[in-house]
């Protein structure tokens, strides 16, 4: 079976600086794959390249065999590869439910003119989005804060909201940007369970970038390690844990953060 996502020789240079150098790996459908690496290793850049928020210098990203790199980001999202952001990236002056409803944009069948005129299809769409938003709110356990203004939410809820926005687009592949950052142990464990449910109950392939090693080890089917913009290892958590190159990379740069 072809992998759902293929990263092939992706390279990104900013001026003289090479942020990503010839990175390749595949993601199988229904897999949870983590990209890890020390700070400044080029993880975020890689993520932006996959979601096509940045243009690659060379190399390409394929989704189900179709090239998605260098397309407009909204077209990539339309195909089913959706990126969630860190917690500051939400629609601040909307309520939680409004955030999620508006994120259903991709699923609308009526045109914007249709919505303006309030056609039958538009009303059907709106009703459907509302129902789906409520379902997502239930799935993520956000009922208590559904009408809260997003700018008033505490961090933990913002993270969940970011994920809800991602889910509303009905993604096939969800890119999670540091979902565990700043969480305590209990919160992290809840999030780990949630990410599993994304895959198990909704069949979403998950690609995540993360620092938190114990969580990554727990959640991932496979792990890709990058350092100085290069892929230095790829494998199951057990393989990665015993990989000398990986240990060296981490010890060399931030031994405190490793926690394993």
């Amino acid at each position: 079976m072809t992998p759902i996502l293929q990263v092939r020789g992706v390279t990104k240079r900013f001026g003289g600086l090479t942020a990503n150098n010839d990175i390749s790996f595949d993601v199988a459908e229904g897999e949870i794959l983590s990209v890890i690496g020390p700070n400044g290793a080029g993880k975020s850049t890689l993520f932006k390249l996959i979601a096509s928020f940045l243009k690659t210098t060379s190399g390409e990203v394929l989704y189900k065999g179709t090239r998605i790199s260098n397309l407009a980001p909204h077209r990539v999202a339309r195909m089913g590869v959706v990126r969630t952001f860190q917690e500051t990236t939400i629609f601040r002056s909307m309520t939680v439910r409004e955030n999620i409803v508006v994120a259903h944009h991709l699923r609308s069948r009526a045109s914007l003119l249709g919505f303006f005129l309030g056609t039958l299809q538009a009303r059907k769409d709106e009703a459907e989005f509302g129902a789906s938003a409520d379902e997502i709110i239930g799935f993520l356990g956000l009922d208590a804060i559904r009408d809260e203004m997003a700018s008033n939410l505490p961090q933990g809820h913002l993270r969940a909201l970011g994920m809800a926005i991602g889910l509303a687009t009905d993604p096939k592949v969800l890119l999670l940007d540091e979902p565990f950052a700043g969480m305590n142990h209990d919160e992290t464990m809840r999030m780990v369970a949630l990410v599993r449910r994304l895959r198990d109950e909704r069949g979403i392939t998950v690609l995540l970038v993360e620092h938190d090693m114990p969580a990554v080890m727990k959640i991932s089917d496979r792990i890709v390690v990058i350092n100085f913009g290069q892929k230095i290892a790829e494998g199951t958590p057990a393989e990665i844990q015993s990989n000398e190159k990986v240990i060296e990379a981490y010890l060399g740069s931030e031994d405190a953060a490793i926690g394993m």
Partner: protein, 323 residues
């Protein structure tokens, strides 16, 4: 829609169509018709500016489209003999098309950068009107005939304005009707999916793109609707004053359109209407101060910014916060 809103809209419609003409007839202040007609038309142009604010862009270029719309109507009426009523939508469409061309490159700019380009645009429109042969340079286009009759199958829908005993009243009704239609459209835009998407754009363009919104398209769409409003407002102004000059809409007008929105509040659809009314009447009231008019006006503006740097309606925000 709940009954309270319906009542409010009903009251507003009765006020502008019945109460205002009655009050003017009773008080004998016929000059108010001209003032209120201007307010209605300026508020249409301001509504357009408000929509660009709604996608997170500061638009100081509405004067350019008002001028362009005015010239399109004036030229079509005087040289091609087209009925004014047909030139009205044509002026809007022309401006919308023009704004697509201009918007495609400049809407990629944000914040003060976008504001700067649009400001320059107003000045360029004036210079263009001065330079082109078709606009007749600084002399402008004058003695434009009043709007003619519109009839379907012999049934007169709109009478010929030249035959009316009181064209002031007719112009007032025409401007107010245009305003009501424009604000109804704006209200509908804001409360439909289009408006939600505009808000998503205003709050976070990256996130909007990642939920699949074609941000470039949406920006251009909102900007072209905005320019359409500017164009029809300009065209109707020209019909009323029966003349247009390159200086009919200038940088100061563009700044005022922005001020109207800001004063009325950027979060409320009817904000620009309120803002236009307040500013226009404020300016008119200061007319009695003669040469100190601009000084007092600008001092008040500066004082307002010092006291309420977040706009008039931030007063209500504070009240809301205390609840």
């Amino acid at each position: 829609m709940n009954t309270q809103k319906l009542l409010g809209i009903g009251a507003f419609v009765i006020a502008v169509y019945v109460a205002v003409p009655l009050a003017i007839a009773l008080s004998g202040r016929w000059d108010f018709y001209y003032t209120l007609t201007s307010v209605a038309l300026l508020s249409v142009a301001s509504a357009g500016v408000w929509l660009t604010f709604y996608i997170g862009r500061i638009n100081i270029g509405q004067g350019a489209y008002a001028l362009a719309g005015g010239y399109v109507s004036a030229i079509l009426v005087t040289t091609a003999g087209v009925s004014f009523w047909l030139t009205l939508p044509l002026a809007g469409v022309f401006c919308a098309a023009l704004s697509v061309l201009i918007g495609l490159p400049i809407l990629r700019l944000r914040g003060v950068y976008f504001a700067m380009v649009t400001l320059v645009l107003t000045e360029v429109a004036r210079l263009t009107a001065l330079a082109l042969p078709v606009t007749n340079g600084a002399k402008g286009i004058t003695s434009i005939p009043l709007p003619g009759e519109v009839s379907i199958l012999g049934l007169t829908l709109i009478p010929d304005f030249a035959t009316l005993g009181n064209p002031k009243l007719a112009f007032y009704f025409m401007a107010v009707t245009l305003m009501v239609i424009c604000y109804a459209c704006l209200w509908r835009i804001v409360n439909s999916r289009l408006g939600h998407l505009c808000r998503s754009l205003q709050q976070n363009e990256e996130l909007a793109a990642s939920i699949g919104v074609n941000t470039a398209y949406l920006r251009v769409l909102a900007y072209s609707i905005s320019s359409f409003f500017g164009g029809i407002a300009g065209a109707m102004f020209v019909a009323i004053s029966q003349s247009i000059y390159p200086s009919s809409f200038q940088v100061a007008d563009s700044v005022n359109f922005m001020l109207n929105c800001f004063l009325g509040g950027l979060g409320y659809v009817f904000g620009p209407m309120l803002g236009t009314l307040l500013l226009y009447f404020g300016w008119d009231l200061l007319f009695t101060t003669g040469r100190y008019q601009l000084l007092i006006y600008s001092s008040l503006m500066i004082a307002l910014m010092l006291v309420l740097p977040n706009g008039l309606l931030s007063l209500f925000d504070r009240k809301g916060g205390r609840k």
